[in-house]
């Protein structure tokens, strides 16, 4: 649906539904912190950003650029081949179990302990990355 919708706004809405489904999987895997972060960051912030940009550009169905038919077919066939190869390669792997609602490493207490004990440096570096991305976006988006 994300790929096949002609109107980009519908595409964004389908993508939000997909993200909520993925968050549901995180809850099922007992990773509650990641589920909440996924909803807030992806479905909340990033998708609203996409919607704003799409509405700012005033796109509609007739301005939608189209590739020619053979290129589309070739892309779909290439993706299907990748799917086929991956599934065929992984079909006979041993079946390790992931137990669903067991273990509490997904809780924010345990994740926070590990994050601020073992991963302090990457955390700070990611904050610098955010700062530079913010400055970069402002500089690029500024009218010259």
């Amino acid at each position: 649906m994300v790929v096949s919708s002609k109107n980009p706004v519908y595409s964004v809405l389908w993508l939000i539904i997909t993200f909520f489904a993925i968050s549901g999987h995180y809850v099922l895997l007992n990773a509650q912190f990641l589920a909440i972060v996924n909803i807030i960051v992806y479905a909340g912030a990033i998708m609203v950003l996409f919607l704003f940009v799409i509405m700012l550009m005033n796109l509609s169905k007739d301005t939608e650029p189209q590739k020619n038919k053979w290129l589309k077919l070739a892309g779909a066939v290439a993706g299907g081949c990748l799917l086929l190869v991956m599934v065929a390669a992984l079909r006979h792997t041993e079946k390790n179990m992931t137990e669903l609602s067991k273990g509490d490493i997904g809780l924010i207490q345990n994740l926070g302990n590990v994050l601020f004990k073992d991963y302090v440096l990457p955390f700070e570096i990611s904050s610098i990355l955010f700062l530079s991305a913010m400055v970069g976006a402002v500089v690029i988006g500024k009218k010259e």
Partner: protein
């Protein structure tokens, strides 16, 4: 629940993302497909971290939380990437009045 189901689900999501990147020419939709691929990888990370936790929970109480933190960092990087990328798309739209990626081939002249 076998880990295989999660592997196949995230392969399917990833392939949908790849097909989107290959078949569409709208720059915003290509961006959204990249997000979809990142999320497929995140889902696989969480599934494997649960598997690792289940296998090693006896020796290390925090086994597997590395994977979930990695997912967290991937989300951070994706958010930064989206902000910069959307700024680039807005600027490109301002210059060419189109978001067709094929207009960008003037870069090679």
């Amino acid at each position: 629940m076998p880990i295989n189901y999660y592997i196949f689900l995230s392969i399917a999501l990833f392939v949908i993302g790849i097909i989107g990147v290959l078949t569409r020419r709208n720059a915003i939709i290509i961006f959204m497909c990249i997000e979809l691929m990142l999320n497929a990888v995140n889902l696989l990370f969480v599934a494997f971290s649960k598997m690792h936790h289940l296998a090693n929970a006896a020796t290390n109480i925090n086994a597997g939380s590395d994977g979930q933190l990695f997912v967290f960092f991937i989300m951070v990087v994706a958010a930064a990437e989206v902000s910069v990328g959307l700024a680039i798309i807005v600027m490109m739209y301002r210059n060419t009045h189109s978001i067709d990626v094929n207009f960008l081939n003037r870069l090679k002249h």
